[in-house]
Amino acid sequence: MTSGLDMLTPLADLIGSGALAAPPAGEKAAGAVHGDIGAWVMAIPFLPLLGSLLCVLCAIFKVKSKLPAWITVAGLAGAFVAAFVMFQQTTGADGGSQWAVAKAFDWINFQWGSEGQALVANFSFYVDSLTCLWMLFVTGLATLIALYASEYMSHDKGPGYCRFFFAFNLFVFSMACLVMGDNLLLLFLGWEGVGLCSYLLIGYFYKKESAVAAAKKAFIMNRIGDLGLSLGVMLTFVHFGTLEYAQLFHDPEMFPKYLALAQAGDFASIPWQVELIPILLAVGAFGKSAQFPLYVWLPDAMEGPTPVSALIHAATMVTAGVYLVARFLPVFAANQAALGLVILIGAFTALLSATIAMRQYDIKRIMAYSTVSQLGYMFVGVAVLAPSGGAFHVFTHAFFKATLFLCCGAVMHGFAGQLDLRKLSGVMSMKGWLIVSLAMLVGCLNLAGVPFTAGYFSKDMILAESFVNGHAIAGWVLLITAGLTAYYTFRVFFRVFVGPTHAEPGEDLHPHEGESMEEAKANFHAHAPGWAINLVLGILLVGSILVAFLYPMHWADDMIATSTAGGIGAGDHTGTVLGMDPHKVMYYVSAVFGVTGILIAAFLHGPKGLWSLGIGNRSEAETSRADALVPKVGPVAHLAERKWLVDELYHATIAMPLRVIAHISHALDRLLVDGLVNLFGWLPRLFGRTIRPAQNGLLHSYAIRMVGGVGVVVLLVVLVTLL
């Protein structure tokens, strides 16, 4: 930590105290951020960048130890401390919008024309409470997950280990650029950077065909979203003439003007360009945050190592879309259609992926669909103009979903890659698995929204606000989803962690010498997680419980209120649930939905005895009640298991036609283009072949031809002179 800051001293000098520029247009903002936080702000992105460079050095010097992991953990812990200091310094006692810009160096600065047109994008960071909220959990979880990965990835020590931690560090750097960047171009750089790291880490096992395919799928799906984002960035520049937040959010002629118009209900005065920006940004957000119809990459991304799934594909990167909507909420608020689109897509995705998760058997995929579903909640949260609910759900979800993924990872690590919930049972009663099982239980309680957990509170904020702000249909859809979520979450818990002990090793099983595969299976012993995994899960277990205490403190509300998303909520609270005030009644309603889901899961999948509340009857790894129910539900269950055939639909409508076109183009290329090129190569060869026999190597024939040639020349000369 200290050494890392020493490295940064020149940089800190460079930016100095004056570089924490007093914002040009914000009178109320000047001086609102306390003290000189420039060096701390710089540490957040640049410590991970330094870490990634050190990992490259480790790869060059062929380090075979766990050194890259310790470098990463140290650098990220430093970044977390810096983020905490930034948070402490930013959220002062005085209310109102508090923000500052810390500049690292000039990045892009084009000027043209006679009227002073300029495209300015500095490498500088915009700090307000929204930034702090995001960076706290990004750096905190990244540190813990890096520690976890030091043990999880220990089979790959050597070049793979260095590659993993290089991409891990680079990811945190990119995420910091995305969240902290003070202009849309730096956000875009970070946006693409996290996409690249996601691609690199999904395809980490690059010898596995499915991993490579999943990496490509993620990358290509994200390109579609990124097209929307880049168009949105361009349109913002074209319309407002700047990309810097300091101007966009605080110049009274820019976002504040349109936000005021929207809040006054004067939508007719808002130009169509401004109304188009949020729609384009939403397309980008749907790609990155895996919303319908661009969500199919996220479940496949589970091919990557589990720490990656936990950090990138559950806790942090996929919330970038929610961040984008929350950050640009002032301009989203200026277009009711954009908000409606986000609510519609969010609620639909939440329900759709919850139904898919109910019928999957791979526990990591279940968690992946659950992430997609919870991201839908977050989108609805911000889009019903309750950004504090959305942001708080992002925060709590990051903790409990990381916990759940890391528990799945521990199971996968211990049981030779086994993830099928039909082949595992009673993990909790095995020796050394208590912490994992308790962490899993806490994570499941959070995800299921059992009363007084963090997930319960943050979900309630979203649900209540959607009823309050007049989106009752979205609210009911999300309530039903909450019930489904509780069911599929506890389906995993009841089948894998409690009940009769049973474990079959997965496909990563390697027989010892002189041992057949059958013998290896018979002799298989799960190896319980070591200290690093247990420590991280212990911290997350406590953390996931403690996060709930932030709710009574109204922490998220305060954080959002002082950010650019503050003060946007709808004015009139008219909606009701069952004729009552949603905020009061939601605690009971959502608790009923959650507990009902758990009870159904207990009845269908729970083992005999206390752990399934006495209503389960499962006595072996397989469960009879759920299996008996499936045929009665009919084709719906089958379709949900096949993921509603969305992948097949995409394959038939997009992938196949493209493949046909590719084959046609390939044929044309081979026949037409190659043919033409080959023709030009073939003509001289043909010519050469006809005249080549003349060069027969025989002295006499050359001599005769020479004589003949001279004779012809002489004859010509004679003829010409005579005639």
Partner: protein, 118 residues
Amino acid sequence: MLVDIATMAQGDFPEPMTGLTLMHYLMTSGLLFALGLVGFVTRRNLIIMFLCTELMFQAAGIALIAFSRFHLNHTGETFVIFVLTIAAAEAALALALVVLLFRRKETLDASSWAELRG
């Protein structure tokens, strides 16, 4: 031009070589050259072929000297002396080459060497 040359060839040499015309020498030179050329084309033996090239060489030399004497200009004769010197050196070189070639294939047939066939 051709007519001029023909007319010139009828002319007598200057004193004391009366009775001889340039044509006599040019005819000798031409015959010698034709002999060499025919020999070069028809014979297969490398040594004979080389001798034929020498024959053509000397034919050219005779023509040069004849013109030189005809014009009373010594340049041609000087030139031929140089050519003879060089031809002597070149003959040594060429015969050495022929010997080497013979050692390699035990034959003097020119058609044995056709490796540069296209």
